[in-house]
Subunit: 384 residues, 4 copies
C-alpha cells in the first residue's frame, strides 16, 4: 500500500472558509495528512490554527517563503502545498514553492493579472512540478460523465452552451458590515478587477470548457455593480463564441435572491443535450434528439469509466460538494504517488485542471472586463 | 345574462395549428360562438373547414376583404375577428377589419416590419376598436400573479431579468421535408426577418415586460442559423438593458434538444425574486431575500385579485395552455360586452396585450436583427 | 360533419363545483351543447342557473323525473344527461333516465350503497344505454399511455402498486362553518359511509385498476376521522391484494397539509416501473429495470395511439384537469355519435369508465369500511 | 485541542460495503484514527485489509474476542469499536467489547432476535459504555431540523406519518449469482427473519420515530417475497399505529424499479407538514397549514441549532450520505471526549441513536413478521 502523502497549506487559518474545505477534501480519501502550514499572516493566529489542526509547532510557519525553505530542507518534506489565500497572492506564493520543487494545489482563480498567470505557467513548466487548480466542480462524477459523453459524440457537434452561476449572498452591502468573506472578494486589490465574474464566472467558464472540450474564443459582456458603492461587478452577463462555431451565454451573479450556489450547465448539440445542476449533483439529464429525457444517476448502470473513477458509494447515496472537491485531492495524490513509484498514473486521475486552465480563466476575466469597458464589444481571449 | 359574442376568423383552416388553439380558447368559457370565417386561401378547403366548424356556408368567405365587407353589412355581424394567418399578412388583414369597425384579436407577432406595426397602431387609434394581441402566456394566472407582486413591490426594484424560450423541433432541417408549420416560420417572406426570435423571442420579450412593468431600452444580440441553409435565426442570444437600469439576458432557440416549449422567466429584485416556467404553469416560485423559497400555487391562499380573476378551478387541479389562452378571449369578451352594455369593463379584464405591446415586440426584433448585423453592438429600440 | 350532441344536466346549479367542471369539459371539444337541466331543487335558483347557462326556460326543469319525462317526449331530446348531484341521489336519478332510454354520464362514486350499485348495473344492461362514470383522471393522455404500456408488457408482471390521493382542505372542521362542499361530503346521508375514501379513495382505486388492468381482490384498512366530531373518515389507509398476486397500498386523506389534489400512482413490475402525478399530468416517469428513468411527455415521440387520441395540443403546451375531464365527454360523444350513425365507435374512445367500474368502486369502499370496523381484517370485495 | 480518538473495527475487510462507509464517516471530521481491527474471518484477508488501511500488523486481530482482550490490555487501547458485520453477529461481538469496557458503534439493525436486543440493552446499562447505533439518516442536518420543528410545535399534534424506503437492486435473484451483499442480506441465518424490512424498514421506522418523537405502538403488515425462492421478504407493507393516536404507513421494498435508495418521510400535523427525501437531503419541504410550501435548505437562514450543529459547509454546497453518516461519528467523538475531559458533552451531540432505539427496531421487525404470519392482524410492539 502506498504511503499517505504529506500536505502543507498556506492560508486557511481560523475562520477561513475555503481552507477548511480543502482540508475536508484532502482527508476524505485518506491519501493525505496535513503536516505543515503557514496558516495566517497573524503569528499567534497561525500557531493556534496549527495546534487545532494537529500540526507540529515546528512546522507552523510564519509565511510561505519561510515554509518553502524549511520544508525543502527536510527529508520528510511536504509532497505538495495547498494555496488557499486571496487571489492576488496566489502568484507569488506558488512561485516560491515551485522554486523549491514542491507540487502545488492552488485555489482558483489562478491570479488576478494575466501577465502573472502566464508567468506562472512558465514557472510550472520549468519546475516540472505538478500544478493543480481547484476548479472543484470538475471533480463531480456526473460532470466527468458529461465530459465523457460529449467526447464520445453522444451530443454530436455542440451548438449552444448555456452556463450560469448565480448566488444571492451579496444582494446587500454586507462588505461594509465587516463580513470577512465579502470584504476581500469585493476588494480589487485582493480579488482582482472582477467580482462575481472572478469568483463565480471563472467556475462557469471552466466547467463549460471542461465538459464540451471547446475553448471560448471571444466574449461580449455587460458587467454591473448593482449594490451602490461596490467597486467590482456583482452581476456579469456574457455572450460567448467558441472556437469552431458554438455559441453560448454565461451569467454570474451575487445579487440573485433564491440562489445559494446555483451553478448550472446546459450543452446542446446536433444529436442531443445534457444538463447538470450543482445543487443536485448526482443527476445528469440527457436527452437524445427526439427521444425522452433520461435521468442518469451517479453510480447507475452504463456510466463511463471517468464517472466510476470519481464515485465512492452506490447510487442513491448522494455524494456532495466535499466529495467532488476531494476527487481533485485524490487524483493529485495518484499523480504524485505514481511519480514516486516510477509508474504511469491512472489515466482517469489526469482530469484535474491545471495551470493552462487557470491562464484561460484569467484571460476570460480580462476579456470580459475589457468588453464591459468597451460597451459590450466582442473581445478575443489573447491566448496562444 | 349577457349574450354570447359572435366571432369570425381569418386563417385557421384544416391542418392549421394556432387557429385550432384560438377556437379551443374561444370556446372554453362560453362567451363566444364562431359564426363566420375566411379559413383558407384555397376555396374548397375553406368550405370544408367551415362545415367542420358548424359555420353556415353563407358566412364562409373567400378572403378577409370579402368577409369584412359582408359582415359589416349584417345586423348580426361578428363582434370580433381573430386573425391567425402567417405574420406577414397580419397588417393588411387587420387594416381591413379595423376599417370596417370590427374589433380584432390578432396572433403574434404583430407584423414583420416596424413601419407596418406603427401604421396599425395609428389605425387602431383612429378606429376606436379593441385590438388584442394574443401573447397568450400573459393569460396564465401565475403570470398575472407575478406581475401583481412586482407591481406591489414584493421584489423591490428589479435588477436582473433572465428569460428564455427554447424548443427543439427545428434541430434538423424539417422545413425541407414539407412540414408546413416549419416551412412558413422559416420563410422570411411569410415570417419576417427573424426565426426563433420572431416566433419565440417576442413572447419572451413580452412576458418580461408584462411581469416587470419595465421596458427594454436597448439590446445586443448574436443571431445564428445553426442548421445549414436556413435563412433566419434558429437561435438568438440577447443581452438586455431596461429603462431605469435593470439588465437581463434573453435566449430563444429552436435547436435545443430536450426543450419542447420551455419558456421560463426569472426576475430578481433588491428584495426578492420570482421564477415561472410555462411547462409547469400552476406554480410560481417566490423567494423573499434571505428567506426560504415559497411555492405559490394557482388557486392557493393569498393570491392577488388578478390571479383569482384568471382562475377557473381549484388549486391542485392543473390548468394549462388552453386555459391561459382562453383567458385572453374571456377578457376581450368582457371588454366588448362592457361596451355593448354601456358600462366600464372589469378592471381585471384589461390586462390583455394590445397593439402597443405589438409595436414594441416588432421593434425588439428589428433592434436584435440590427445588432446582429452590427456584430452585437448595442442598438436602441426606436419607440417613442 | 356530425352534429353537436344535446346534453342535459341534473344538479350543477349556482355555486356548484363539479357541475361547472362538467360543463367546461363538455364544451371544450365542441361536441356537446347544453340544452336542458334540472339544476337545483330550489326552483328559483334552477331558473336563474338555466338563464345564466343559455338554457331555454321551457327546458329548465324542477326535477329529474319531470325532466326525463319531458325530454323523452321531444324530437330534439337530449342525447345524454350528466348527473352531478351528491352521491346518494345518483342511483335514483340514473334509474329514471335509463328508464327513459337516455344515455347517462354520472359523477363518481356511483352510489353510496352496494345494492344500489348492483341494481344500477342491471338497469344499464336492460336499458341498452351508454353509462359513463366520470373517473376523470382516466382521461389524461399520460394515464392512458401508462395503461397501454402495462398492457403491452413494458413493466412485465406487476408486483407492487402504490397509490395515494391526499388533500388538505378538511384539516380543520370547515364543515361546521357553512362551507357547502365540505358539508355534503362529510354527511353520511348524502355522501355515504365513507369520507376521504369515497371522495378520493375511489379515484385512487379506479386509476390503479385502470392502469394495471388488475382487480383489487381484498383490502385491510384503517379509517380515521382525525377532526373531532366528524362522522366519516378524513384519512384512510389501506393495504391491497390484487387478483393474481400483486400487492399494494392506498392512502386517501383530506387532512394532509401541503397537498392540494395530489393523486399519485406508482406501478412496479418485474421489468420496469411507471410513476404519474396528477398535479404534473403531462409527464410520465418510466424506468426500465436497470436503466435510467425516462420522462415521457404528452405529445412526445413514441407514445401509444391511446395517448395520442387524448391529446389536443403539442408537447410542451400543458394540458390540465379540464382537458382530461373533457376527454371523457369527447369519448362519450364519439360512442353516441357512432350509434347514431350506425357505425363502430373509434376503439380509442371506449376507455371511458362504466357502471362496472362504478360497482367495483362502491364494493371497494364497502370492503374498506367493513375492514375498518373489524380492526383491519382482510375483507374481500364481493363482486362476481 | 482534544486528541484524535482511536477507533477499532470488526468486519469491513476487502470488498465490504458498509465498513468502508464507516471509515469514510469516521475520517471526515478528523476526530478519529483507525488503529486496530479484526477485519475478516479469513486471516490472510484480514492482514491485507489492515495493511491497506495503515493499521499496524500487531493490531490486526483474528477475531473480536482476541481483539477485545488485547486492546483492553493496552495503554493506547481503542476508544471505541465499530461493528460492521452481518446482523446476526452484532450481539455476540458487542457483548465482548462492552465486557472489556470499550465503547461500541454498531451497525443496524441491532440484532436479529428480540431477546438478544434486550440482553444487549442490559449489557450496555451494566457496562456504562456509550453505545451508538448507526441509523445514519438521523445524522442529516435537515432530518435534525425536522425533528426540532416537530418538537417545537411547528406541525401541531402529528396525525399521519407516511414513510417509505424502496430500492430496486433485488428485483431479480442476484443472490443466486454470487453477489455477496445480496447473499448475506437474504440469508435468514445472517440477516434475521426479515429481508427488506430488516435492511430498510428499520431505517424507515427509526426515522419516523426520530423525527416525530412518537413511538410505534402496533403494526399490521403484509410481507412478500416476490422473487421466487427468496426466504425473506423483499417487499413489506405496514400500517402503523403510534402511541397517542397518530397513524401511518410504512413501505420497504427491494423490488421497486427506479428506486435506488429512496427513503422518504412525510409527517402531517394539525398545523402543518414536513417532507424529506434522502436522495435530495439538503432540502426540507415545510408547509404551514393554509400557506404556501417553503423549501428550507441546509445552511439557510432560520434553522435550528440542531441542524446548524450538523452542518459543515454553506447552503448550496450539497452535503450527502457520507457527511450525514459522519455526523454520528462526530457526535460519538464528542460524547467520548467529554467523558475523557470530565465535562458535559455538547447537547447537540446527544441525538445519536442508541441501544434503546435498536431494541425498538428489532421489536418492530418482530411484530411485523408476526403480523404477516397472522394474516395482517394488528400486533403490538412488546416493549416496556
Amino acid at each position: 500500500m502506498s504511503r499517505r502523502l504529506r500536505l502543507g497549506m498556506v492560508g486557511g487559518g481560523e475562520g477561513a472558509f475555503i481552507g477548511a474545505v480543502h482540508r475536508l477534501a484532502a482527508r476524505l480519501d485518506d491519501r493525505w495528512e496535513l503536516v505543515a502550514g503557514a496558516f495566517s499572516r497573524d503569528a499567534e493566529r497561525g500557531r493556534r490554527s496549527a495546534a487545532a489542526l494537529h500540526v507540529a509547532p515546528d512546522r507552523a510557519y510564519a509565511d510561505a517563503a519561510q515554509m518553502a525553505q524549511a520544508e525543502a530542507a527536510r527529508a520528510d518534506r511536504v509532497d505538495a502545498v495547498a494555496i488557499v489565500t486571496p487571489n492576488a497572492s496566489h502568484h507569488a506564493i506558488a512561485r516560491v514553492f515551485l522554486g523549491a520543487g514542491i507540487h502545488v494545489i492552488c485555489d482558483k482563480p489562478l491570479t488576478t493579472r494575466l501577465e502573472d498567470a502566464r508567468d506562472l505557467q512558465r514557472a510550472v513548466a520549468e519546475s516540472g512540478c505538478i500544478f493543480a487548480l481547484t476548479h472543484n466542480y470538475t471533480g463531480y462524477p456526473m460532470v466527468r460523465q458529461a465530459r465523457a459523453m460529449v467526447a464520445d459524440g453522444a451530443l454530436g457537434a455542440v451548438r449552444v452552451v448555456q452556463v450560469e452561476y448565480p448566488q444571492d449572498w451579496l444582494a446587500t452591502p454586507i462588505e461594509t458590515t465587516g463580513q470577512k468573506q465579502a470584504a476581500w472578494r469585493l476588494d480589487p486589490a485582493q480579488a482582482g478587477p472582477a467580482g462575481s465574474l472572478g469568483d463565480l464566472g471563472t467556475h462557469a467558464h471552466n466547467i463549460a470548457e471542461f465538459v464540451t472540450g471547446l475553448r471560448v474564443d471571444s466574449v461580449a459582456a455587460q458587467l454591473t455593480a448593482f449594490v451602490p458603492g461596490r467597486r467590482v461587478d456583482d452581476d456579469a452577463q456574457v455572450m460567448l463564441r467558441f472556437a469552431g462555431g458554438a455559441r453560448g451565454m454565461l451569467w454570474s451573479s451575487q445579487v440573485a435572491p433564491g440562489n445559494e450556489n446555483a451553478l448550472r450547465l446546459r450543452v446542446f448539440g446536433e444529436a442531443g443535450a445534457l444538463e447538470w445542476a450543482q445543487e443536485h449533483p448526482n443527476q445528469l439529464r440527457f436527452t437524445p434528439l427526439s427521444e425522452a429525457p433520461r435521468i442518469l444517476a451517479r453510480g447507475g448502470a452504463g456510466l463511463s469509466a471517468a464517472a466510476a473513477h470519481a464515485t465512492r458509494i452506490p447510487a442513491g447515496h448522494p455524494e456532495g460538494y466535499i466529495e467532488g472537491f476531494a476527487q481533485l485531492y485524490r487524483d493529485v495524490a495518484e499523480q504524485i504517488t505514481a511519480r514516486l513509484e516510477g509508474r504511469a498514473a491512472d489515466a482517469a486521475a489526469l482530469l484535474v485542471p491545471g495551470v493552462g486552465d487557470g491562464v484561460r480563466g484569467v484571460a476570460f476575466v480580462a476579456a470580459c472586463v475589457e468588453s464591459g469597458r468597451r460597451d459590450g464589444a466582442w473581445v478575443g481571449l489573447c491566448i496562444r
